[in-house]
Every structure is written in structure tokens, then in C-alpha cells.
Amino acid sequence: MAALFVVALVVALVLVHKPLGDHMYRVYTGVRHSRAERVVYRLVGVRPESEQRWPVYARSLLAFSAVSILFLYAFQRLQDKLFLSLGLAPVPDHVAWNTAVSFVTNTNWQAYSGESTMGHLVQMAGLAVQNFVSAAVGMAVAVALVRGLARDGADTIGNFWVDLVRGTLRVLLPLAFAGAIVLVVGGVVQNFAGPHTITTLTGGTQHLTGGPVASQEVIKELGTNGGGFYNTNSAHPFENATSWTNWFEILLILVIPFSLPRTFGRMVGQVRQGYAIAAVMGVIALASVTLTTVFELHGAATVPQAVGAAMEGKDVRFGVADSATFAAATTLTSTGAVDSFHDSYTPFGGMMTLFNMMLGEVAPGGVGSGLYGMLILALITVFVAGLMVGRTPEYLGKKIGAREIKLASLYFLVTPVLVLTGTAVAMANKAGLAAMLNTGPHGLSEILYAFTSASNNNGSAFGGVTVNTPWYDVALGLCMAFGRFLPIVFVLALAGSLARRIPVPESAGTLPTHRPQFVGMVVGVTIILVALTFLPALALGPIAEGLS
């Protein structure tokens, strides 16, 4: 059954990636602007025809993100003054900062409990808006990098405002609308009601809550955001009502990241290059899903052995296997939504979710961020492997010189440095250690997970850790901001530098980057580099726990 569940996902992705990938290709390469878009550009005050060099593109992106953080912060702090607040108090300053950064960086780490902190208006017009635009920003960066690879001797890499508006209006919005209706059919709620109290069968009371959940749930998955309307996220029956909405939400998580390689292939004029990238993502993703599921079904640890199954933190309607698939999907992408609680996973099952994020979320990764992360890994692979065919390395005809490798290296450095130093600092001070719920190696895993999740902009958690303290809100907020925007700047710089290069024509001496050989190599490089970086930390966390 577990296998069929995954096979059905694969089949669905195979069917959908082509039309969606082609659609995105047309969206990002088209020259026509719809009337609605022209109105938007006029209101925003930008000329959609003018292209930007990479520094301008990057500055526009950073300006938009900075404004978004300020806006979202103010929104939360002032929510009691606005309508639809459900009577909730202003969000404390450190939580508001953390949440603002979290949603703008597409992390959607939640240092708060949705149902008791955020009113409907903040959820709908603050958080959900960032679900859209932070995803569109990610796609814009990926498309800019692809343009860098596709263009010959060009100075510009596109127009950020156009990419942002098109990604939001032409890609995310229509898909979200259709998906939201599907979720409502499954039972996901969509109303503006506040909590109301009912009397249960045995005479007790229960508070039933409402809200515009479906409209937010769908973009939370589709944009690989992950911030739940409720505290228990996609485990909550009002967010994820049935076993099939569960499947559908996993599909929503994967659909754009797995379609973008096709868009990439179309843009560089070689669809097979896109498929090679998709194959790398697919191989890693399938291996990870399989391992996570096997570890969870096997249930090797004291409590799961006592229970007879790793059912702690999992809902009956999903079961162990499908929950594990969701866990793998959400951490392989930058989603971070959960339908079961990773903290209670078996040591190795939990380690897989950690490892997935440590891969840099590239298989298939977040919307946009997965593609650009994977392209960087492909560049690094080409650099080492390319030498072994006796030529200075090139990818898609673009020479990988010192500047390119410098930017790729910087990109590659950011997250490990953030994760490891963040974890080390937390482990070395009282404020950091105090947050653990569990003790021993599992407590270490909780902290490591928190910094891995924040720095990689995932947002899921080993939920036991108490992170709504000022220390964690600030530290993790910084990790999220640096983990998002430093790599983006490096990617855009790389795009600019690649765009300027004149491509070298392909010959029999060129390293082919569309064959299984290359796919295998990128998979190998990705896994070995990540394993080498994080093995000491993993050894003292989940591995120590799992081998005890």
C-alpha cells in the first residue's frame, strides 16, 4: 500500500510536470503582458520592458523582502487594532520578528501556536500573502539563474518585478484557487468564524475553530511554505481531513519543484538537461522516501518496540507509511508542513528528515530554491568531474571559472556554517540548552533540527523544543534571514556572471550532462559532501540514539 501511495505520486508528477513546466516556461519567457498585469505595473511604478542587470535585480528583491518583513512585523504587532483579530493580543516583539522573517524567507518556522496567536486577518492578509510572494521570489531567482545559463554574452538577467508578478498571478494563484476548492471538498474548512463552544456527547465542552484555512493550506503546500493555520499543521483534521487530501497535499508540495526542471530544460533549449536535473532530484527523493518509510515501519527504538508501531505523533487515518512519505516530502522540499511529529519518529526515521534538509533541500527542494540549489551542485560536480575528461569544466557550454566557483562555493558554505555554528552556540549556552524537551542525544537532535530547519528555510521542527524564547527567536530569525538572502545574492551574481559568458560549442570531448552517468555523479557528490559535513553532529544525535 505504501508503495502504491508513492507510485501514485510519481505517476501524477509524470503526468503534470509537462504541462505545468511548459506553462512556467511560457510565463517566464513570454513578452506579452496581460491587461491586469499592466495595471499592476502601473500601480507599482515599474517599466516591465526594461531588463535588469544582476545587482539591480538583487536590490529589487532585497527591497521587496525588507519591506515585506517590516510590513508583516507591524501587522502582527497591531493585530488587536484591526478587525478579524478574534480578540487576540498583539504578538510579542521577538515572536513577531521571528515570524515576519520566517514567512518572508519562505521558511514558515512557527514560534507560535496558530490558533491562539494569530487572528484571521493576519493569517489571511499577512502570512498567506507571503506564502505567495516568497514562493514567487524563489522561482524568480531560479529563473534568473537559468537565464544566466541560457543567454549568450548578455548583460541582464530579467526583471524582478515582472518575474514576481507573473509567478504570483499566472502560476501560483490559479493553481491555488483550484487546489483550495479540492481541499474544501475533502473537508478542509473555509470560513471566517471564530471559535465556538459545543457540548460533546458525554456532556463535556469543546471549542471548535474556523477560519480561511483551505485558501491558506493550499498555498502553504504549493509554495513549499509550510506554516500551518493551526499548531498541529497538516495533522490537524481541518487542514488535512482525509487520507486522500493527505496524498493531494504531498502532490501540491512536489508539483512545482518537480516541474521547474522542465521549465529549465525548455529555457536552455535542451529538455534533456532538465530531465537530468529532475532525475537527480527523483533518485534522491525516492531513496529518501523509501528509507524514511522503512525506518518508520520497522520501528527500531524502545518506545516503538513497546508500542508495536511508531504510532506516537501520527494520526490513524494517515497511518505510519503515508505519514513517513509526507515527512520525507516536506523536508526534501523547503515546506516544513507536517502531518505527523518528527520528534517522536524512530531515531533513523527522524535522522532522514534531518538529512533531507541538510542536503540543502534540493531533491526537489523549495519552489525555485530547489532548482537553483541543484544547479549549483551540478556546477560543483561539473567542476570536479569535468576535469576528469581533460577539459576545463563547463556546464551547458558555460565555462566554470574562478568567479563562478567562488560564488558556488560561497553559496554552498552558507547553510552548513549557519547550521553548525548555530547549533554549537546553542549547545554552549544555558538559554540554548533550556529549550530541550527530550534529554540525551535526542535533545541534541532537537536543537540541531531547529537550526537545520531555520537555516535551510524549511520550517518544520522536532516539535519538542521550546523556541518561543527571545534567544531562539532572534538566533533562528538571523539564521533564516542569512540562510535565505545570502545564497540568493550569490545565485544572482552567478547568474550575472554566467550570462556574460559566450558558450563553448558541444563536442565529443564535452562532458555530457544529460546521461545517467552525470545524474549518478551529482547524486554522489550531493550525498557525500553533505554526509561529510554533518556526520559528526549526526553521530552525537540521531545515530547515537539509534545505535544505543
Binding site: F383, V384, A385, G386, L387, M388, G390, R391, T392, P393, G397, I400, G401, A402, I405, K406, S409, L410, F412, L413, P416, V417, L420, T423, A424, V425, M427, A428, L433, T439, G440, P441, L444, I502, P503, V504, P505, S507, A508, G509, T510, L511, P512, Q517, M521, G524, I528, L529, L532, T533, L535, P536, A537, A539, L540, G541, I543, A544, L547, S548
Partner: protein, 700 residues
């Protein structure tokens, strides 16, 4: 093939054998390179040196144990081995430089007071300036690089080329360049000095082979950046492990501390050991040796690369421009047909042609005798058989040769020269001769006119002969993804015929230097890298434009200035070897990088359980090699890490095996050997070392 003075070295290296004595002689230099100022250029090894220093201090103060001292010792050895690799590579160049220096004797020069002046002053060679004119006569050493502006002479250039046969240098044309330090054997020439003092060709050669002012190549810089990034990651991974280790000990208060792990965390010695094992020391140690050795391999083939960048570019070349003559066809044409003029039988012509060529030892002359025998059955006679014969040798002035025998005077040679000779002897060559000559020229052949005193007998048609094995060579190139273009002054028809016969991909006929230049530009605009050879002054712009421009040593100084390589053998076919050496250099770099990174997997399996099994006994399951003790495991990893550098020095110097093949095939093989091998080898190596050292004190 001719013999070279340098061949002794070439053979030794070619066999890939590293003379252990070389390691010994390079040791002092390796120790000198421990100076951090020198090591600054190699950040990976600098980190190792700092680590070695730190462990030494720790072993001497707080962590005194045999284990601590052993680790410190092996870390120092790691740095020394890395330096040794570089020193050995440089040492080989030094041997060659010594040979060259011998040629650079302090000479005196006779400097003319003016170009045409007959007066001269005796000055020391170092005082010569550009634009000075010096006169050199038989037996004298040419005092500096320059061009012959007057006279013709035979010159012994063996000091720089190793070629013992003298070469002709003459004013004008493409054989005017002379090199300082070579010796004039005959005649007298006037040389215009073209070098600045201290920058002679020999000076540059010495600097190049010694690697004195070696600059990192673009790819080397890029690779260094990647290695630095990896180093930073592992530095962070190792440093940040400490709070995690302290925490782990604190939640297991009942666990006693070990040598590797105490309540204060992982011991400094172990932490440094882990760091050194993880950072890419193998490639970091060998990277510069690989670069030097690449240049060195060129030198062994008598090619001087003016920069490492050129060698790297050679690996990337996608278009080869090859001169037809000398590269694709034999430099000398061969007699293909005797064409008599009306009234002369072919037999008669053949007999005259044979007679005139009997004493002609040039390949053309031999080919005439052979043709006469094969087609007309004329017995080849030894010049000695004809007692009365008076042989007229070829001279640059007469441009013909022949024989005076029994009153007959027979001459053969260039059409104009022979016709003039006929007219001078009262003959009146008809237009027919002119037509024949033009016809042969037009078809790409070379006409040699044969005449007897007063009348022309006919014309010998000398044809191009494509060298053996060229087609296979070009097929190979195609498999490597390299396009070959034949450059010739011939008309398109002839060019096409020869191009097809030789199997090149394309040809450029009736090529002028401008055509060459524009062809190179066109290829480069398409993103291709172009390699070419050239010798003439008019090749200079093209040589400068090409990514790899190989100037023939026989060529003009302008050509040598313009190109970025000089072939001392003046063998244009060598371009193909140069490309292969370039590729080999890049492959070696990539293969050892892959090997270096792949090694880390096994080292983790040795060190992580050694560090942490004390606090989490379950982690002993990761000790898949079943190493004897934590101490022996860590020491074994460090020793392996050091020894692998020594073990790979021969490979770094020789370069990995290279066979021309498509990219996919090459990659598969190298991945298999250096990727998979890099993962497997250290498992075996560390286990083996562990078996040996487990009996040392303090290892349990």
C-alpha cells in the same frame, strides 16, 4: 628520431619511475618550504602546519603521551611530504635548467658601430641592448637572441635543442632567428639583437623549467577556491563539534573520560587529527606538483610553454589548425612523374634526371632516383662508379644541382634558375616548358626542370605525400571532440584532394596570414579554443591570436614572441601531443581531487567511533574496519593521510594514464579508478596500518 640531450630525463619520467634518490635530494628544499611565508600560497597545507604546531605544543604541555607525540610527528611529516612533492617536481626542472645554464656562458660580443659599419667594439654580452648589431663568425658563440640581417651560416643549436645536426640561419625569410648561447659553425653573419638584457630565450627557459615565477593557472585558482571552501566547511564542522561533545559527556555523567574525549570535550590532538584527515590534503599537497609536472612533460618533449595557462588551454582546444607541409604531408615532396617536352623520350628524361640526382642526398633527390628505378627500371648507380663525373652541389645561390659527365652538363632545379642557366648557355626554352611548369604548380605539385646544356629535357613532378598514420591520428582527434583544419597555400582543388586523403575535417586553401587570422577569430567567436603552429613572421598575428600558438624554434623571433609555446624540435605534428599533455594535466588534477574527497568517507569510519564510542558504545558499530583501539584508529588515519601523499607523487608527476576517447568513456574509467578507488583504498590502507601500529606503546 634524433637524439636529444634531454632524453635521459624523458625516459625516466616517461616510465613513471620516481628515483628514490630524488626524494632524498629534494628533502632540504622541502624543509625550507615549511616556512609559513612560503606555505601561505597553499592554504590547505598551511592549516596542516598550524595543526602540526598546535599538536606539538599540546603534546609537550597538556596532552603528553606517546600518542600525542606520534600524531604531532606525522602531521609534520604530512606537510613535509607535501613540500617534497613540490620540491621533487621543481627539482626535475632544475636538472634541465642546469643543462641550459651551461649554454649560457659569459660571452663577449663584437658590436658594430652601425648597421653597415665595418668597425666594431668588443663588449660583454650582458651589455647588449635591443637594436644593437653584432657580427659573429665561425667558431664564435652568438651573444644574444636576434635576427640574422646579413649573411648565411650554419649554427650548432644543440645546447638548447639537443639536436646535434647544425641548422642553417640566413637573413630574410623565416629562418633568420638565432638564439644566444648557440655556436656559429661556418660563415659570418650580422645579427640584430632583439632581446632585452637578462631576458634572453635561454633565461626564460631556465625560469620556466625551474618553475621560478610560476603563476597559478585560471583553473588552478578556481580549484584552489573550491578546496578552500571545503577546508572552511570541515574547519567549521570540526570546531562546532566541541560543544556537542561536551554536552554528550554531560548527559552521561557516569561515563569515564578517555584519551580522546573528556568532560572538557574532544582532546585537541584528536580534533586536529580529524580536521587534517578531512580537509583535502591529498590534492592540496599535490596540486602545484601536478602543474609543474605538466610543464615538465612538455619540456621532455622539447616544447617550452611560456605559461601554465597555455598548457591548460591546450587541454581545451577544440580546433587544430595544421599546416599542410611538414605536419600532414612529408615536408619533402617526392617525384611522382617525369614529363618530357616534345621531342624527348620519357626514358631520356628519366636517365638525365637520375644522373643529376645521384649525388643529391636530399629526400627529393633520393625520390627521383627511386622513381627512375621503379618506373623506368634504371639501375641505381653509386656516384663513385662514375669516375669522371663532376658533381655540382645545390647552393642557395644557384638553386640547382647536377652533374658534368663525359662532356655532358645536366642540371635540375627550380624552373626559373634552370631556364636562366639554359638561356645563359644559348638555349631557347619554348613556351611548352612554361605551360608544363604552370600546370604542375596549379595542381599543387612542385615542378623541377631538368636540362642539358642549352636545352630543356622536361619537368619532374614532385608531389605531396601524406604522412603515415595521419588519418588514424585525426580520427582520434575527432573522438576527443577536436576539429582539424588543414592550412595550405595550395589551390582549393589540390587542398581538397590532400585533405580527403589525410582525413582532416576541413581545409583552408590559398591561405594568407590574414585568412588564418580571420579563421581563428571566427572559431573563437563561436567559443572554440584554437591551437596552431607557425614559424614565419607573417604567422605572428595568428600565433598571438590563437589560444595555443606553437612557434617552431627554427622560426623567426617575431613568431617565437607571438606564440605561447616553442617547439625546439620544430616538429608541427607535436601539436597533437601538446593537446594530449594539456588534457592529461587537467585529468590528473580532477582525478586526485576526486580521490582526495572520496578518501574522507573511510576516515570518518575510523575516527568518529574512536572519538565517541566511549560515551555512546553503540557507535562502535561504525568501526567497520574493527580497528584495534581509538588511539590506533586515529593514528592510522593520520599516517594513511600522510603516506598517501608520498604514494601519489609518482602519479602526480607522471600524470594519469590518458588514452584519447570520448568524454563519457574517459569519465567512467576515471570515476571507477579514482572515485571508487578513493573510497575503497583508505579502508584497506588504514586497516593495514592499524594492524602494524597496534603493538606500539599507548595504543590500547
Amino acid at each position: 628520431m634524433s637524439t636529444h640531450v634531454l632524453e635521459g630525463t624523458a625516459k625516466r619520467v616517461g616510465g613513471g619511475l620516481l628515483d628514490p634518490r630524488q626524494l632524498l635530494t629534494s628533502l632540504p628544499e622541502a624543509l625550507r618550504k615549511l616556512n609559513p611565508v612560503t606555505l601561505w600560497r597553499n592554504p590547505v597545507m598551511l592549516i596542516v602546519e598550524i595543526g602540526a604546531l598546535a599538536t606539538t605544543i599540546l603534546a609537550a604541555t597538556t596532552e603528553t603521551s606517546f600518542f600525542g607525540w606520534a600524531i604531532a610527528g606525522w602531521l609534520w611529516l604530512t606537510v613535509v611530504f607535501a613540500n617534497l612533492a613540490e620540491a621533487v617536481a621543481e627539482g626535475r626542472g632544475k636538472a634541465q635548467a642546469a643543462t641550459l645554464r651551461a649554454a649560457k656562458r659569459d660571452t663577449t660580443a663584437r658590436r658594430l658601430r652601425g648597421r653597415t659599419s665595418a668597425e666594431w667594439d668588443v663588449v660583454g654580452a650582458p651589455e647588449l641592448r635591443q637594436g644593437d648589431f653584432v657580427v659573429v663568425e665561425a667558431g664564435e658563440i652568438i651573444p644574444g637572441d636576434g635576427d640574422v640581417v646579413e649573411g648565411i651560416a650554419s649554427v650548432d643549436e644543440s645546447a638548447i635543442t639537443g639536436e646535434s645536426a647544425p641548422v642553417i640561419r640566413e637573413s630574410g625569410g623565416d629562418r633568420s632567428a638565432v638564439t644566444g648561447g648557440t655556436k656559429v659553425l661556418s660563415d659570418r653573419i650580422v645579427v640584430e639583437i632583439t632581446q632585452r638584457p637578462g631576458e634572453s630565450f635561454v633565461d626564460r627557459m631556465i625560469a620556466l623549467v625551474e618553475g621560478a615565477n610560476r603563476q597559478k593557472t585560471p583553473n588552478e585558482i578556481a580549484l584552489n577556491i573550491l578546496l578552500a571552501a571545503l577546508t572552511i566547511i570541515f574547519l567549521v564542522a570540526t570546531a562546532t563539534m566541541q560543544p556537542l561533545a561536551i554536552y554528550s559527556m554531560s548527559v552521561n555523567p557516569g561515563v569515564p573520560g578517555s584519551l580522546a574525549l573528556s568532560r572538557d570535550g574532544v582532546s585537541g590532538v584528536v580534533l586536529v587529527s580529524l580536521l587534517v584527515c578531512l580537509i583535502p590534503t591529498t590534492i592540496g599537497a599535490l596540486l602545484s606538483a601536478i602543474g609543474i609536472a605538466g610543464m615538465d612533460r612538455l619540456v621532455q618533449r622539447n616544447v617550452l610553454a611560456m605559461s601554465g595557462r597555455a598548457v591548460e588551454a591546450a587541454g581545451d582546444v577544440s580546433t587544430l589548425l595544421l599546416d599542410k607541409t611538414g605536419t600532414i604531408t612529408l615536408g619533402n615532396r617526392q617525384a611522382g612523374e617525369f614529363v618530357p617536352i616534345r621531342g624527348v623520350t620519357a626514358e631520356e628524361l628519366a636517365r638525365a634526371a637520375q644522373l643529376s640526382s645521384l649525388a643529391d642526398e636530399t629526400p627529393e633527390g633520393r625520390s627521383i632516383v627511386v622513381h627512375a628505378k621503379q618506373v623506368y627500371g634504371l639501375r641505381e648507380r653509386e656516384p663513385g662508379e662514375l669516375a669522371h663525373a663532376e658533381w655540382v652541389p645545390f647552393t642557395a645561390q644557384t638553386r640547382m644541382s647536377g652533374v658534368n659527365l663525359d662532356g655532358r652538363e645536366i642540371r635540375k632545379g627550380a624552373a626559373t634558375a634552370v631556364m636562366k642557366w639554359v638561356r645563359d648557355h644559348g638555349g631557347h626554352p619554348t613556351d611548352e616548358v612554361g605551360h608544363l611548369v604552370d600546370g604542375i604548380s596549379a595542381s599543387g605539385g612542385t615542378p623541377l626542370v631538368v636540362a642539358e646544356k642549352g636545352r630543356v629535357l622536361g619537368v619532374i613532378h614532385l608531389k605531396d605525400v601524406v604522412k603515415q598514420g595521419m588519418r588514424e591520428r585525426f580520427d582520434e582527434m575527432r573522438r576527443m571532440g577536436i576539429r582539424t583544419v588543414m592550412i595550405t597555400g595550395d589551390n582549393p582543388l589540390t587542398a581538397k584532394a590532400i585533405a580527403e586523403e589525410a582525413g582532416v575535417d576541413d581545409f583552408l586553401a590559398e591561405a594568407t596570414p590574414e585568412d588564418k587570422l580571420s579563421l581563428i577569430r571566427k572559431e573563437q567567436e563561436g567559443g572554440r579554443l584554437v591551437a596552431m603552429t607557425g614559424d614565419g613572421t607573417n604567422d605572428a598575428p595568428a600565433l598571438a591570436q590563437a589560444d595555443v600558438g606553437v612557434a617552431m624554434n627554427t622560426g623567426t623571433s617575431a613568431a617565437k614572441e607571438a606564440g605561447n609555446m616553442v617547439d625546439l624540435d620544430s616538429n608541427p605534428t607535436k601539436l597533437i601531443e601538446i593537446v594530449e599533455i594539456g588534457k592529461q594535466l587537467l585529468i590528473t588534477r580532477g582525478a586526485l581531487t576526486t580521490f582526495s574527497i572520496a578518501n574522507d568517507v573511510a576516515k570518518y569510519f575510523a575516527i568518529i567511533p574512536a572519538m565517541f564510542a566511549a560515551v555512546y558504545p553503540g557507535l562502535d558499530a561504525l568501526n567497520v574496519m574493527r580497528l584495534a583501539s581509538p588511539q590506533s584508529a586515529i593514528l592510522a588515519a593520520v599516517i594513511f593521510n600522510a603516506l598517501v601523499i608520498i604514494a601519489l607523487i609518482p602519479l602526480a608527476l607522471r600524470g594519469v594514464r590518458y588514452r584519447p576517447a570520448g568524454a563519457s568513456k574517459l569519465l567512467s574509467r576515471n570515476l571507477y579508478v579514482y572515485g571508487l578507488g578513493g573510497i575503497v583504498a583508505p579502508f584497506a590502507g588504514i586497516k593495514l596500518i592499524d594492524l602494524l601500529i597496534q603493538f606500539l606503546p599507548g595504543m590500547s
